[in-house]
Symmetry: C2
Subunit: 324 residues, 2 copies
Amino acid sequence: MNSLDSILKRTEAELSSISFTDEPVSLYDPITYILSLGGKRIRPALTLIGCNIYSENIDAAVKPALGIEVFHNFTLLHDDLMDGADRRRNRKTVHKVWSPNVAILSGDAMLIASYRLIGKTPAPYLSVVLDLFTKTALDICGGQQYDMEFEQRMDVTEQEYIRMIEMKTAVLLACALKIGALIGGASLHDADLLYNYGIDLGLAFQLQDDLLDVYGDPESFGKNIGGDIISNKKTFLLLNALRMVEGEERDRVLGWLCRIDCDPERKIAYFTELYSKLGIKELTEQRIAYFYTEAKHNLSALQIADERLCVLKEISEKLMYRQV
Amino acid sequence: MNSLDSILKRTEAELSSISFTDEPVSLYDPITYILSLGGKRIRPALTLIGCNIYSENIDAAVKPALGIEVFHNFTLLHDDLMDGADRRRNRKTVHKVWSPNVAILSGDAMLIASYRLIGKTPAPYLSVVLDLFTKTALDICGGQQYDMEFEQRMDVTEQEYIRMIEMKTAVLLACALKIGALIGGASLHDADLLYNYGIDLGLAFQLQDDLLDVYGDPESFGKNIGGDIISNKKTFLLLNALRMVEGEERDRVLGWLCRIDCDPERKIAYFTELYSKLGIKELTEQRIAYFYTEAKHNLSALQIADERLCVLKEISEKLMYRQV
């Protein structure tokens, strides 16, 4: 079995070796650019790890793993354009370096290129992998649609929010893991359990992202603290605050959300204090622990020796404690 | 064998029966909208015709045929956004009815939905069909990229232009026909000949589109005459005019191309007269005839009884004389 370290190194090496020789180069430069910006490469790693649970040889999972990472970066490219985001990973976004039209068209080419890689799945698994990938990709578009619609709403329920992050974030982690397992030779029973593991892990992961935006260490989180607060993002924390506050406090919250020019530090300080006062940090931590526990229940039902799961458990722990 | 009429009717019926039951509906409404705007449905018809050349039963080609039409409409949706086009087939474009973000995201979902339909190709053909579809889709993005780049250039050669329309238009006709033939059971030899037929037919078709923009009958052409002239589109006609004119005449042409507010009727009249004076109508007709003849050479090399080609020949004739 491969160590987590060797899986991550292989993922990065395979990603850097992708080159687009198609014409015109101007269509592919933005794709090379966004793929070079880095990232944790969790999704392709999960595909290789899923495969390695069932097979010593993970070569057959490499191209589909890359397809999932290319797809993920395609969603970032188009989401940044739709969100009007100027920067990603401390670099300019594609539509800022080039133009909105380039971002649209190179994004389209990137989505197609991700299918080209998924299409390299070995023939016996191609149909089922393709179906799963396509279903996942549509879910992710649906999740982004909900996310944009939620911006205009003040009455988003926790249930709606969980469904949105399931579609936008969790399904791709689940899909990545399941595709790897299938290519490794897992039974459909095991592959489905790993899918469910990925869903719950993804939900825990996204809620932790929401939490770290407020309470994280800027050094290790890799993003500026309070970014979600500044942009009025309807996170798990804000939705719960909106649900709890009444009267004058509610008016103050809505006031901060409506104001366009305000001191960012004061706004961050206000919401951080509000969340602490309402016990929202603890509430979020409880939900994270709940989903992470739910995730792990799936693993105990797998028909596989426990020691084959150590790398999956290792990357999950690192993800939950953000050391990867 | 099915008649052309029954193929076209089946195509239209199958297209109207596509319904998107995925959530959220707001993501799928624009897809249903653009698919309802009509069109000649040449591409899915070519897939069914290609299949019918080799097989009496064309059912297996229906879903891939729809995938090609959904993909084609996806390109229209994103191209309209990139071109800032307000109207398509006498109705508002998606980004005008909804918003640019909706056009981006629903377009993405539409591209994925086209893969969902292509993924329904019978297992023995899935891998080869998928590869061809993906290669074609990337070519089309490349063609659109060239088309946008040509807007900024005055020195586009005929060779570059032919390559652009091959990528943007011809490859999808060729791909549609080849996919159908493969699913019908054609040999790779025959499928490739039909692909080449589609390429040359597509080139002839696009050059005729360029010609009809100037010399067509508005009634039967279905678009306003002179649209390409008004928008300074680098058509086969304009490129040849730019190549031929010198001195003061060249300055006049460039003057018309630079002017932002000008009388559209005078501009159309100027270019129509210029093209006639330079013999560009005849030149274009010669090139159309050349590509159509080249196309037909491929058919004579097919290893199939001639009578099985009658529907393909019929739709080609109708296309070349725009009666479909």
